[in-house]
């Protein structure tokens, strides 16, 4: 059994590739996942600058017993669960787009909150299983917006929680590279991919991200990205290779300073031993 969660940021991307095309590709991927095995489960979360919202399954939808419901029975003979899921996702996205107002020019989404909600959801599903059953979960993040630097600490907390629960975090990045997601994928063991051609999003999703972790070892997938784990110093935000770490608050500095700026502890400075200069006998000019 496997569960896949999908985060999609609701920020606008370039003109040729609109949100609706992106959602189409995501729905194809979701349908494919649910069609792979009867026991597969799916949940979709939209993450935007003011919050995150579960698109599927939705609170107002009591899943499973919708027999005779007009919305779920489609005329083309498609598996009802898939068409119900598609309709629900489309409706919820429309609701969100009409409700949120784009205030200001913030183009970054707060991914850490959506990932935290996804982890809570997975945790709940794991608790609801009977004894002896297992569920393997992974999270796929489809991201177009840029990173937000404020969320570094929360993001790292979420990543470590996912690693402890053995949940893979995969990332499919549309626009700009994201250092945070690269670290997340490396730490949890997932795949990071920056898509070269956005119109082929559905193909990339189905090729790279549809198989689960056991099947991936037998496929030829894009090579892992080189992750830069160097720390950024707190004073200049430069990436450094050797730095000084405060033993109290673990802040990183590039130069030695007598007081830590974060926790304001004074450090013991190792004074160099003062060597008395030996008096040299001046040679008298002859």
């Amino acid at each position: 059994m496997s569960l896949m969660l999908n985060n999609a940021p609701c920020t606008p991307v370039s003109a040729q590739f609109t949100l609706s095309k992106c959602m189409d590709a995501v729905m194809v991927m979701g349908n494919a996942h649910m069609a792979m095995a009867r026991t597969n489960k799916l949940a979709v979360i939209a993450s935007h600058c003011q919050g995150s919202h579960f698109l599927y399954p939705s609170k107002s939808w009591s899943g499973g017993d919708g027999g005779g419901n007009d919305a779920s029975s489609s005329g083309d003979g498609k598996y009802e669960l898939l068409s119900a899921a598609n309709n629900l996702i489309a409706e919820e996205i429309r609701n969100i787009m009409s409700k949120i107002e784009v205030t200001g020019n913030s183009t970054d989404t707060l991914l850490a909150g959506s990932l935290a909600k996804a982890l809570c959801y997975i945790h709940r599903l794991t608790k609801e299983l009977e004894v002896g059953q297992e569920i393997k979960s992974r999270i796929l993040v489809v991201k177009a917006a840029e990173d937000c630097a404020l969320q570094y600490m929360n993001f790292m907390n979420v990543i470590f929680a996912a690693q402890k629960q053995n949940i893979l975090i995969d990332a499919c990045v549309l626009d700009s590279d994201s250092g945070l997601l690269q670290q997340a994928c490396d730490i949890t063991g997932g795949l990071y991919l920056k898509i070269p051609q956005k119109v082929a999003l559905a193909q990339y999703l189905l090729w790279v991200f549809l198989p689960d972790s056991e099947q991936r070892s037998q496929l030829v997938l894009p090579p892992p990205a080189h992750v830069d784990y160097r720390a950024a110093c707190f004073c200049h935000r430069n990436l450094i290779e050797i730095g000084y770490v405060c033993s109290v608050c673990l802040s990183i500095f590039c130069n030695f300073s007598p007081i830590c700026t974060t926790c304001e502890t004074a450090f013991k400075i190792q004074l160099p031993q003062i060597v008395k200069p030996k008096k040299k006998k001046l040679k008298q000019p002859m």
Binding site: A112, G113, K117, L119, C120, Y121, M153, N157, F160, L250
Partner: protein
């Protein structure tokens, strides 16, 4: 649901002492664990016998310890037959300890333990540790006797002067010398009731202890090596031996990638490690980030009865219907969570899923 309520009660007990101001805790800890391997460890009151049960719990302890204290080190000492010997040296990598613990299941338990010898052995290494780190010893003692070559009360004075904190977990009964030992050095002494109590007591030692005023604060020089993944087709790639394999008996393997020490370019396969060539401590930024949740702990959520809730009754984290008698709300963003999510958030996540949208940068 009973276990969730029980877990909830324990968590509040540990939370009640916690205030919102973060307490400074020791980050770099050097801990020696002394395991008693004397004849009393063959007793079968813990299944299958005390030794196997202890070693199993120690494996879980080591894993959890490095999870919560990523830049700390652990060493293991065993004592039997009136002697003490080191099972593993102080190291920051959990794998070595776990393999040693798994092999130690076959040891024969014979003779009497020696508190003096094991403490002495630990002190030999701990006294050289720098002042800003914490020096701790945890003794798991099952025998009621100890065979010491010299006066242990003198050793207790030495421990106190070296600022070593000794804690004891007794498996049989309370022993006076342990009470004095732990009281003088500032550690804790507990005697177990059963196996689950044993696990609980062990896990108490994972949380970093509050920093004593005597510990020095200093800036530690550390390196952050890059992980290079080179393939054979790269022209610059040079194969190298990993320095961490110098100690192991299996032959060192040539590898193309790895972590290169920024000061001396020695290769290592895993972090965190202390460079054997130049002595620089090598860590990666996520290792330091693991300890951040101790610096900025999450506030306990406020419990309230579910009847007071207006509107939709859904947990905002896992989208489940709220069927429990009480719900928990975050004091800063007032979002509502169910019991399971509250436990999960405080034990694993350490951040509120809804607060992130209203937070300013730490």
């Amino acid at each position: 649901m009973g276990s969730a309520q029980g877990g909830r009660v324990r968590l509040t007990q540990s939370h009640s002492g916690r205030d919102t101001v973060p307490v400074q805790t020791e980050k770099m800890r050097h801990l020696y664990v002394v395991i008693d391997c004397s004849r009393s460890m063959e007793d079968q009151d813990l299944k299958p016998n005390r030794l196997t049960s202890t070693l199993k719990l120690m494996e879980a302890f080591v894993d959890e310890y490095f999870d919560q204290n990523p830049i700390s080190q652990v060493g293991i000492i065993t004592t039997k037959n009136k002697r003490a010997e080191k099972l593993t040296d102080l190291a920051g990598n959990p794998k070595k300890h776990i393999t040693a613990l798994m092999k130690a299941v076959d040891t024969v338990c014979v003779g009497e333990p020696s508190l003096y010898n094991s403490l002495n052995l630990a002190i030999q290494t701990l006294k050289h540790m720098p002042g800003h780190t914490s020096r701790e010893i945890l003794i798991i003692l099952s025998s009621l006797t100890t065979c010491d070559p010299a006066n242990i009360y003198e050793l207790i004075k030495t421990l106190k002067s070296l600022k070593v904190r000794v804690s004891v977990i007794g498996l049989s009964a309370e022993v006076r010398v342990c009470t004095v030992l732990t009281r003088e050095t500032g550690g804790s002494y507990h005697v177990i009731l059963d196996e689950s109590h044993f696990k609980e007591l062990l896990m108490l030692h994972i949380k970093p202890p509050p920093a004593s005023s005597s510990s020095e604060c200093s800036l530690i020089r550390m390196g952050f090596p890059q992980h290079t993944i080179a393939s054979v087709t790269d022209q610059d790639a040079k194969p190298s031996f990993s320095m961490s394999h110098l100690d192991s008996s299996s032959g060192p393997g040539l590898s193309l990638g790895g972590y290169f020490c920024p000061q001396c370019h020695a290769t290592y396969t895993e972090l965190p490690v202390e460079c054997k060539v130049c002595g620089l401590t090598l860590v990666s930024a996520p290792h330091l980030a693991r300890s951040f949740h101790h610096l900025f702990p999450l506030q306990a959520f406020i419990e309230s009865p579910v009847e007071n809730l207006q509107g939709d009754r859904f947990c905002q984290a896992c989208q489940a219907e709220l069927k429990d008698k009480s719900v928990f709300s975050c004091p800063s963003c007032h979002s509502v969570f169910c019991v399971e999510c509250d436990l999960f958030i405080h034990e694993s996540l350490h951040c509120c899923p809804c607060c992130i949208y209203r937070q300013t940068a730490p």
